[in-house]
């Protein structure tokens, strides 16, 4: 894989044109500019230009106390807000040398998995609109509402949950939560299976997705992607299994993989992961111990001893890492966010080369990137 084809050059032949997708384009929510050099409908070169909503979060975080970063870490990407919050908390907990309570660990796993489900549902939904299947998008949104309501019932907010705390979580489960969750998730399981059947039996859908945007395991590793796009290529790389954090080593779950590495497999991985996450949540609801859900005392100013930590988590989109350097004060000295969507976005242009303009939407959406997190 060379860097050459991912830099756009001006057209040399009269049959080539430059097509600018973006900065405002219905391909993805969020601004980005995808420059394509096309000949007919075939893509010769592609370059992704980002930074339209650069928020300078890394700089902002250097100017906030550790507690104040909590709600801001949510806003790196609203679809993975709970995971972002959790990975940040685990980083600071490691710096502080504390451990979350047992109940809090389970609660975090539950919210993380709910977060994964809703992110995958929206990811698949966006993808299906990009192949012109608006109905499926609305079904996914309908299903997602129930999951988001489950998250809201625990955390108090629908999108930016701000749930994890150093050594615990913000709220306990509300009464009657288990019955509510099992009912919603049971229905969701049925619906997801029906949608899976609907998509994989449709010959138009199959012809749009099978063999499109193929990423072999070797290429995927070379491009540095992680998460569902990598697992769709057959690499069993899941941090929940690889580096079991929280209570994942006590839970029974499969790492979902597919072998083809095309658009279809990437969506299939997400669909199956939804079912797997439901299974994890059911186990958690059964096993969750009673006890405190947060530390007895949580001072409003936290001063970890100086040091550094790199904590990472299996985000819905891949590997989310945070590298925090503390100098002993109440604010981090350096805060580095290694977003999964950044890595997938970088891998997008080489994947597009040689495919058709009509497949750009399908391939880009199947990578499930998030502009907010790419730009940070």
């Amino acid at each position: 894989m060379t860097h050459k084809a991912t830099q756009i050059t001006s057209p040399t032949k009269p049959s080539e044109i430059l097509l600018h997708l973006g900065p405002q384009h219905p391909l993805q929510p969020g601004p980005f500019l995808l420059d394509l050099k096309i000949e007919g409908e075939t893509i010769k070169e592609a370059e992704l230009k980002i930074g339209y909503i650069h928020k300078g979060m890394e700089k902002v975080f250097e100017d906030r106390t550790y507690i104040q970063i909590l709600p801001l870490a949510d806003r790196i990407c609203y679809l993975a807000s709970n995971s972002n919050n959790d990975v940040y908390c685990r980083g600071v907990e490691e710096l502080l040398g504390i451990e979350p309570t047992e109940r809090a660990k389970y609660l975090r796993v539950i919210t993380n998995e709910l977060c994964r489900i809703q992110s995958h549902l929206l990811g698949i939904g966006e993808y299906t609109t990009d192949v012109g299947f608006l109905t499926m998008f609305l079904y996914m949104i309908r299903e997602r509402e129930g999951v988001v309501s489950l998250l809201e019932a625990i955390t108090g907010s629908r999108l930016n949950h701000n749930y994890a705390r150093f050594g615990g979580v913000a709220n306990d489960l509300p009464p009657g939560y288990k019955e509510m969750a099992l009912k919603t998730l049971g229905e969701l399981k049925k619906l997801v299976k029906s949608h899976d059947e609907m998509m994989s039996s449709d010959s138009i859908y199959l012809s749009r997705t099978k063999g499109v945007g193929v990423l072999t395991a070797k290429q995927a590793g070379e491009l540095g992607v992680a998460g569902p796009p990598l697992r769709a290529s057959g690499v069993e790389y899941d941090l929940r299994r690889m580096e079991p954090y929280l209570v994942y080593n006590e839970l029974d779950f499969k790492v979902i993989t597919q072998t083809d590495g095309d658009v279809f497999s990437r969506v299939k991985v997400r669909l199956l992961e939804i079912l797997e996450s439901i299974y994890i949540i059911e186990q958690c609801l059964d096993q969750i111990p009673s006890g405190p859900y947060k530390q007895d005392v949580m001072p409003y100013i936290t001063r970890p001893k100086s040091g550094e930590v790199y904590s990472r988590i299996e985000d819905p989109r891949g590997e989310m890492g945070m590298y925090i350097i503390s100098d002993g004060s109440d604010k981090p000295y350096r805060f580095r966010i290694r977003g999964p969507a950044f890595a997938t976005a970088q891998a997008l242009p080489p994947l597009l080369i040689g495919s058709y303009v009509a497949d750009v939407a399908a391939i880009a959406a199947s990578m499930d990137s998030c502009t907010s997190e790419v730009d940070r």
């Binding site: 801001l72 701000n162 913000a170 609907m198 409003y300």
Partner: protein, 131 residues
């Protein structure tokens, strides 16, 4: 083939639509919901921890009789940290979320407004409300 799609989508015609007609119908809000803040003037000691912890500088401690917090909800992100770290439990979050205003001043809530009985509860707009 495409027949399964046709069948399943047609079946969906007979299910109930999920759209909520928003201004008339409000969804069920859970107890943990984070809406507008409510201030209990009896409990507040004016320590200012809420204003220090706020990531967005929403809270200002002003003098109205005693020292109380004043909220500028125009840039509040309803993270709930002020409520959580209030040492006396004087702050709480209500289910009132319809906070739009025509002016910038309209989003600033003085201690008296925060301490007044909650508007959402008065109007019964806290979820599960059917016309």
């Amino acid at each position: 083939m495409v027949l399964k799609n046709l069948h399943l989508t047609l079946r969906n015609v007979y299910t109930k639509s999920v759209t909520r007609l928003y201004p008339e119908e409000i969804m069920d809000l859970p107890d943990a919901f984070r809406g507008q803040q409510h201030l209990d003037k009896e409990k507040c000691v004016g320590c200012g921890i809420c204003s220090q912890i706020c990531p967005n500088d929403v809270i200002e401690i002003v003098k109205s009789g005693k020292w109380y917090p004043q909220f500028d909800n125009g840039h509040c992100m309803f993270c709930g940290l002020c409520v959580e770290f209030c040492p006396n439990g004087a702050l709480s979050m209500t289910k009132h979320f319809e906070l739009a205003s025509w002016t910038r001043e309209g989003t600033i809530y003085s201690p008296d407004q925060l301490a007044a009985p909650n508007k959402a509860e008065l109007e019964g707009r806290t979820g599960g409300y059917k016309k």
